[in-house]
Subunit: 220 residues, 2 copies
C-alpha cells in the first residue's frame, strides 16, 4: 500500500473532534491536523468536504471525506482494524451502538440546557443532566470501561464530552463527582491514557470558551 | 445451532418498526410479531426490555433485547450476514451510515413540523422538509438505490418514513412527486419489493392516525 494521507479538519474545543483524535491515536494512525476557524470563516476545504452539515470534524483519508464524528469513529475502526474499538460479538456491538446513540442524543444537548439557560430552566436542565449521567453510571456498573476491560467505542464517544463538564458545574452549581462518584472514577481512568490526555483540551480553557459562547448568545 | 427465537415488539404505524420488519424479511428471518399498545398501556416486556427509552421497536433475539431501529438494523446485518445490507468497503459503509444518520435526524422530526403545526410555522416546516428531500434526491442521483444497484441499509432506513408523506402532503398542501420526481420514482421502486410492500401500512391509514395525533395534541 502506498503512503496514506490522513487529514483532520479540527476545532480544539469540539468534543466531537476529540473523539476522532482519540480513535486515530488508539490505532496509531499519523495524521495532519488542520485547525478550522469554526466561529469565523470556514475553509473552502471544510465547506466542500461537508456540504450538508458544514461542520468539523471531517476526516480526509487519501482525499476522501468522512463526516459526523460517530460515523468517523466507526470508519476508523473498519479502515484500520487493529486494535478493535467495537466488541466482536454482534450483540455486544449493538449494545455499544445503543449507548453511543444515547450519548449522541443526550449529553451535549443536555449540557447546553445548563450553560445556555438561567433561572428555572437551568435548574430543570441540571436535574435532567444528572439523571442522564446516572443512567450512564448504571450501565457502566463495576466495569473499568463501558464495554468491559478494554477502552473502546463507547468510552471514545463519551470521554471528550466530559471536558465541558467543568463549565456545566460552574454554571449549574453542582459537582459531577458528588452526584456520580463511579462515573468520575471512570473519567479519571480514561484520562490516564495517553491517547485521551493528549487529544483533549483543559476544562478551564473550555470554560472560558463557554463564557464567550454565553455572551454571544446574550445570556448574562 | 438450535432453533432461534426472534420476537419483534411492534406498532403498526411506526416507520421505525417498519425498518426492522423489512430488514428481517430481506434476511429471510422468521419472527413472532407482538403489537404493542404504545398510546395506551405498554407491556411489561417492552418496559423491561427498553427501560431507557420505553419505545418500540425492540427486537428480542433468543430473549436478549436490542433497541433503537438503526441499531437493530445494524445488528440484523451482523447477526444474519447474508445477504449484506451495508456495503463491504469501509468508505461506502461510512457514506451509508452518514446518510442513515441524516435521515434519523431530519425526516421524522421535519415531518412533525408539518403535521404538528399550522400557519406560518407550517409553511416554514414545509419549505425545510422539501429542502431535506432535495438533499436526499441529490445523493440518490441516477442510482436505483442509495448505495447503487442493490436495495440496502439507507433504503431500509428511509422507505418506511415515506408512509407518513401522504399525511404531510395533506396537511402541507404539496406533492412530493412535484417537488422531487426522482425521489418519488425511488419510492415506487422500493414499494415493488415484497419485503417492503408487506411490512408497511397504507398511507391513508397512517393519515387517519395522524389526524388523531393532531387532535390529541390540540392542533385544529
Amino acid at each position: 500500500m502506498s503512503k496514506e494521507e490522513v487529514v483532520l479538519l479540527d476545532f480544539w474545543a469540539s468534543p466531537f473532534c476529540g473523539r476522532v483524535k482519540i480513535a486515530l491515536a488508539e490505532k496509531g494512525v499519523e495524521y495532519e491536523n488542520r485547525e478550522e476557524d469554526v466561529l469565523g470563516s470556514k475553509s473552502e476545504l471544510l465547506l466542500n468536504s461537508n456540504p450538508i452539515h458544514k461542520k468539523v470534524p471531517v476526516l480526509l483519508h487519501n482525499g476522501k471525506p468522512v463526516c459526523e464524528s460517530t460515523v468517523i469513529v466507526n470508519y476508523i475502526d473498519e479502515a484500520w482494524p487493529s486494535p478493535p474499538l467495537l466488541p466482536t460479538c454482534p450483540y455486544e456491538r449493538a449494545r455499544a451502538r445503543f449507548w453511543g446513540d444515547f450519548i449522541d442524543k443526550k449529553i451535549f444537548e443536555g449540557g447546553a440546557k445548563i450553560w445556555g439557560s438561567k433561572g428555572e430552566a437551568l435548574e430543570v436542565g441540571k436535574k435532567d443532566f444528572i439523571e442522564i449521567l446516572k443512567q450512564l453510571e448504571g450501565t457502566l456498573g463495576e466495569k473499568d470501561f463501558f464495554c468491559g476491560d478494554n477502552f473502546g467505542f463507547v468510552d471514545i464517544l463519551l470521554i471528550p464530552l466530559t471536558t465541558w463538564f467543568y463549565a456545566y458545574e460552574k454554571f449549574g452549581g453542582f459537582k459531577v463527582e458528588d452526584e456520580c462518584p463511579k462515573f468520575s472514577v471512570w473519567v479519571k481512568r480514561c484520562m490516564q491514557r495517553e491517547s485521551v490526555a493528549k487529544a483533549l483540551p483543559e476544562p478551564e480553557k473550555v470554560y472560558e470558551a463557554v463564557v464567550m459562547l454565553r455572551k454571544m448568545n446574550g445570556i448574562e
